[in-house]
């Protein structure tokens, strides 16, 4: 087990690597964590995710904007790719599999990719259908993979209206499946009206929501460790 000073130094390197969108620092930090025998889950949550939380704060404070967040996400993935194979299966009570994609008629996937990052971090099995996905494909993939969660994204009002059809079809075949909708034009009212189980709050930005979800997982983990 790494000594505390070394551990702190590595976690700090991972955290700052994400904040300063420094992919090399995250890669180095992740390798050092592996070499020092640091718990990979700890490196992910107390290093990378902790950095992403600060990025979320900087975004709220309008110091960071979307380009910075995308670079921070690249840095997070650079570290995550190295740490992932060393992860013991986490038990956060939320693990599972998810089908995610942007609905047909929409070719925007930045918000979807940031939400996906959250699932990757949490150790979910992610079935990413990509963008401009025909509605039936969400239904088929959910049935094929028996996923607990389906996430539908749309950035344009002009493509969002395909969502209720998917929700209806999935619920008809599999009433227990949770469905989340997200993207700029969605709202709580629409989620309720269409029968979705959740939506990206503050619909103006799916990014903040993804970061909030990551932070929530970290909190779950912290509570578990402190028990």
């Amino acid at each position: 087990m790494a000594d505390e000073t070394k551990k702190k130094e590595i976690l700090e390197k991972l955290r700052n690597g994400v904040i300063q969108y420094d992919e090399d620092a995250c890669r180095e930090g992740a390798q050092e964590a592996v070499d020092a025998g640091l718990d990979a889950n700890e490196a992910i949550f107390d290093g990378l995710v902790s950095g992403m939380e600060e990025v979320g704060r900087l975004f709220e404070a309008q110091e960071y904007f979307v380009p910075e967040i995308l670079m921070c996400a690249d840095a997070l993935y650079a570290g995550l790719d190295i740490l992932k194979p060393h992860c013991k299966q986490m038990d956060l009570g939320v693990r599972g599999s998810v089908v995610i994609g942007t609905v047909e008629g929409d070719v925007h996937d930045i918000g979807k990719n940031l939400v996906r990052m959250m699932f990757d971090v949490a150790g979910f099995t992610v079935y990413d259908l990509g963008r401009d996905v025909p509605l039936d494909q969400f239904v088929e993939e959910q049935i094929k993979t028996d996923s607990e969660l389906v996430c539908l994204s749309a950035m344009m009002t002009t493509s969002m209206v395909g969502m209720p059809k998917v929700i209806e079809k999935i619920k008809e075949k599999n009433p227990d499946c949770m469905i989340m909708i997200g993207g700029a034009p969605t709202s709580k009212e629409l989620a309720d009206k269409w029968g979705a189980d959740g939506y990206a709050e503050d619909a103006g930005n799916a990014l903040k929501e993804a970061i909030k979800m990551v932070a929530f997982l970290k909190k779950l983990r912290d509570e578990k460790l402190n028990k």
């Binding site: 979307v66 380009p67 995308l70 690249d74 008629g105 929409d106 990719n113 103006g204």
Partner: protein
């Protein structure tokens, strides 16, 4: 004063009898398409169908303009992107870009094709404008729209890459955006020749929710200025999202008017820009006009006017499934309330 005179006088800042209700963005309706016996997927490739559908919103509801195109892919397609019009879709799917022109950073050094004005659907748009103009041009102002340089760049290459490069390699992006401005000007000039009364520049990708005001000033503003200064007809600059921090820069870009959506606080914007500035907006085209009640539509129209818009105008394309009674309520409320301020 008919709708055409009202809108043209507004652009010239001359006195008018009431606030007009029109748009520079898409406003075709399903009711209009059905009345004509067309299919949504069919109108993108047929100038006459497109023009007749565009005219139907005025004919059915008295909406005070006629606008083509209907989709957002004209410029990207002319530059060489492959589009998908979803020809077999039953419902309403707007065309999207299927194949991008630039696949990575190394491919950013492109040229604007010399025959851009004859490529893709640019000739079809010229034709549609002419038909629309001949059809309803004496009664309403006929408008058209082009994309802004940044939004167009986000179509011909991965938006993800474009955003990161705006930060990492601003020079390279600036060069591409300048080129996009040239392409946009060529297309807009064709629309002018075909007879449009005004052109809206839709730079919706460059919202201040996404980019910092600093990046907006350094990177987005120069090519927008280039586009607006090249236009001869009245122009409107539209940007989505929380635009309060950049409304002054939007004006600096040189449009005749700016267009903002419901996330903009128009009272603040009016204070910042003064009484004479033309500010168009700013209601939620989906949550008010499509899924709202008639009463919500009416109260929203009054709020827009009370907040100080120069014209009531939706924050985005009007979604085609808009219920006819909401369109009727919108126009009725404008006529009743629009002259009171």
């Amino acid at each position: 004063m008919n709708s055409r005179e009202r809108v043209l006088k507004l652009f010239r800042k001359e006195p008018i009898d009431r606030v007009p209700c029109f748009s520079g963005m898409g406003n075709i309706t399903e009711t209009g398409i059905n009345t004509l016996g067309y299919r949504f997927a069919g109108i993108h490739l047929d100038a006459r169908q497109m023009a007749e559908t565009a005219a139907s919103t005025f004919r059915l509801y008295g909406y005070e303009c006629g606008i083509v195109p209907v989709d957002l892919c004209v410029e990207a397609e002319a530059l060489g992107c492959v589009i998908n019009v979803y020809p077999h879709a039953e419902g309403i799917l707007y065309p999207t870009i299927k194949e991008k022109l630039i696949h990575n950073e190394d491919e950013m050094d492109i040229q604007v094709p010399a025959d851009l004005s004859e490529r893709g659907r640019v000739p079809l748009m010229r034709e549609a404008i002419r038909i629309l103009k001949a059809d309803i041009g004496s009664e309403v102002a006929v408008g058209s729209y082009v994309l802004g340089p940044f939004t167009l760049a986000g179509q011909i290459m991965e938006l993800n890459d474009l955003l990161k490069l705006s930060f990492k390699k601003a020079d390279k992006v600036a060069k591409l955006l300048d080129l996009m401005a040239d392409a946009i000007i060529i297309v807009a000039k064709e629309y002018e020749k075909a007879g449009v009364d005004y052109i809206t520049v839709r730079e919706m990708g460059a919202t201040s929710d996404v980019l910092s005001p600093r990046v907006f000033k350094n990177l987005i503003l120069p090519p927008l200025k280039k586009v607006h200064s090249a236009l001869s007809v009245s122009s409107v600059l539209h940007i989505c999202g929380k635009t309060n921090d950049i409304v002054e820069s939007m004006m600096e870009a040189g449009p005749t008017a700016i267009s903002v959506e419901h996330k903009n606080d128009v009272v603040e914007t009016r204070k910042k820009l003064g009484d004479s500035a033309l500010i168009f907006g700013n209601f939620d085209a989906y949550n008010v006009l499509v899924s709202g009640t008639e009463e919500l539509v009416r109260s929203t129209m009054r709020k827009c006017i009370d907040d100080g818009v120069s014209a009531v105008w939706p924050g985005c394309d009007i979604w085609p499934t808009v219920p006819p009674q909401n369109m009727i309520a919108m126009m009725d409320e404008i006529k009743k309330y629009g002259g009171k301020k």
